[in-house]
Amino acid sequence: MDLRESAILHITVGILFPFIAMFGFYLTSYGANFPGGGFQAGVVFGTVVVVVELVFNRRIFSNLFYMRLEYAGVVFLFVSLVGGYVMTGYLFSGFYGITSESPMFSSVFLWLLNLAIYCEVAGSLVLVYRHLIEWKGQEPYAGG
């Protein structure tokens, strides 16, 4: 039997998907004060999307969506890099002082950095998976 036809996999992955996606966002949001961070959260989200696509054999959003997600993260990182340099003479350094009492936004800039890294890594992971799964390249060392 094909594993994709397994009812256990379908039900388990279907039920767990929203919780894992939310856990990824939690890791991003509280990465400044608790274990976690944007990179790990992006990997968590990207992996769960890949698992769902494998099990249900359907796409969750188009390549364009993940490309835009990826670009949004990169653009924010680049803008904050240049903006920090313009403001203070040091890369990224202009925005670290924006803080609040909330545990989630205790450092607003760190939260935004984590979010940008999250978007970038999640988008990239899904795109790399899709390119690999759809790639019909030549056989390596064919005829050699």
């Binding site: 608790f34 990224f92 803080t99 890294i117 970038e120 790399v128």
Partner: protein, 87 residues
């Protein structure tokens, strides 16, 4: 199972057991020695209002490394696209 594989597995097991034994012997005398640089990061963490010291280093003084690390992931995507377009 080939003899070489058995010897290799046995040597690995002995080494792991010896390592475990040494660590178990060493742990009671072990003391945590923090680098003096840690105090700087603690001050930095207070200024940034952040409690996770790893995040302080990762997104603070080493943020350029993080940015470049993220760029590596992007390059992977572009590499995959390039290979697909040429194959």
């Amino acid at each position: 199972m080939p003899a070489a594989k058995v010897v290799f597995g046995s040597v690995t097991a002995v080494l792991l057991a010896a390592t475990w034994f040494l660590v178990a012997q060493w742990i009671p005398d072990m003391q945590v020695a923090l680098s003096p640089a840690i105090t700087d990061f603690e001050v930095l963490a207070e200024r940034m209002n952040v409690r996770n010291l790893v995040a302080v280093v990762y997104l603070g003084p080493r943020v350029l490394d993080t940015f470049l690390e993220v760029n590596v992931v992007i390059l992977t995507v572009f590499g995959m696209k390039f290979i697909r377009s040429t194959s």
